[in-house]
């Protein structure tokens, strides 16, 4: 398209052209589909319409952070008594029953179950004692080991995830740096574009001059041809006219005239001789 315009300009303009880089402008940047999508979904979209995972969503003005705060992960599990009864149950009963009240309540309830044989004292009951013994023994003998194992596991997995994240962030940063460098490099394309355009214009100028020279040569050849034709014509006509005149003169001379002229010549010669 551009080349065609340039060709047309070169064909139309027969005066010498001015090479200025001011008339050379690179094509205007157009919006790519990716940029359009980014604008639509990230820049222009309302916060709750953004298609991202919930944690990354920024809330709108309707969001009720006070009554519905984001759930958080606790550092420690809730404290317990006897290793498994939540402390909060004792706290709940503290106002009514005091410190020892909950123990009395629980123990009394178990006594009630035994007393009325709701919890039946059958041959399976020793297993309950065995269960608690085994659990307590495991806890006191291997509890630290088990806790260490789980904490180490957790830290290892956490480190893996953290390193993965850091690695990816580093990779993205490297990518950004690389692309920024590429953008910086592509700035030179503008100058290269100008240079190429000037190159094309110079080629067009050279072609124009070559053609003009060819036209000049052809015209000159034709004119030279015409000149030569005229010269030859004139020469032939001249020659012919001279011959014709001489022939006619010769024809017009009669024998009488010849004799008279001979006599005259003799007379002239004699006079000349007499003088000498």
């Amino acid at each position: 398209m551009l080349a065609r315009q340039l060709l047309r300009a070169g064909n139309l303009r027969h005066t010498s052209r001015v090479f200025s880089s001011s008339q050379v402008t690179p094509p205007a940047p157009s919006q790519s589909p990716l940029e359009a999508a980014y604008k639509k979904y990230v820049v222009d979209a309302k916060p709750w319409e953004k298609p991202v995972i919930p944690v990354m969503v920024t809330e709108g003005p309707e969001r009720d952070e006070k009554n519905f705060p984001r759930p958080t992960i606790k550092l420690h599990a809730d404290p317990c008594r006897f290793l498994f009864i939540p402390e909060s149950w004792f706290d709940m009963l503290y106002n009514k029953l005091g410190v020892t009240g909950p123990y009395t309540l629980g123990g009394g309830y178990i006594m009630y179950l035994f007393s009325k044989e709701i919890w039946v004292m059958d041959h399976d009951l020793p297993y309950v004692a065995c269960l608690f013994t085994v659990l307590a023994g495991t806890y006191y003998k291997y509890g630290d080991l088990i806790a260490r194992y789980f904490i180490d596991n957790m830290e290892r997995e956490e480190n893996i995830m953290k390193n993965w994240k850091l690695k990816n962030m580093q990779a993205h940063e490297d990518n950004i740096k690389m692309f920024e460098k590429e953008i910086w490099r592509s700035e030179s394309q503008k100058e290269i574009f100008v240079a190429k355009k000037e190159n094309v214009l110079m080629q067009l100028e050279a072609e124009y001059r070559r053609r003009a020279n060819e036209v000049y040569q052809q015209v000159k050849r034709r004119l030279d041809y015409q000149l030569q034709i005229q010269t030859i014509d004139r020469r032939i006509a001249h020659k012919h006219m001279v011959n014709w005149i001489i022939d006619n003169v010769k024809k017009s001379i009669t024998p009488q005239q010849e004799k008279e002229s001979l006599k005259k010549c003799f007379a002239d010669l004699q006079s000349l001789a007499a003088k000498a």
Binding site: W48, P54, V55, V57, E59, G60, E62, R63, D64, E65, F68, R70, P71, I73, K74, L75, H76, A77, D78, P79, C80, L83, F84, P86, M92, S115, K116, E117, V120, M121, D122, H123, D124, V128, L131, L135, Y139, G143, F150, I151, M154
Partner: protein, 107 residues
Amino acid sequence: MGFGDYPLEYDRKVHGPYDPARYYGKPDTYFSEVKLGELGAWFGRRNKSPSAVVGVLSRAYWRWNRRFNHCRIGNAAYPLQVIIGGAIIGYLINYPRTQNHISRKYH
């Protein structure tokens, strides 16, 4: 509201990301703060449809998990509660057979 849907009361714009441990309806008095005399009325106000019951259990499960399991540093409570709760459920399942071993008729 079918299977796998959010509760009807849940509104993303107001409530933010969905929290499975939270009740999004209009909160009533807590069960632990209900007076004995109002207990009947309190139960009368409850929604007793199967989906509501499942919702209650699901929320309780998530709250329990969050208190004892989904924390950074845990303790022995979670496995012990699982083991002891399982023992109690096993006892209740076997209770019809256990009843045959009751030694006294009158207490």
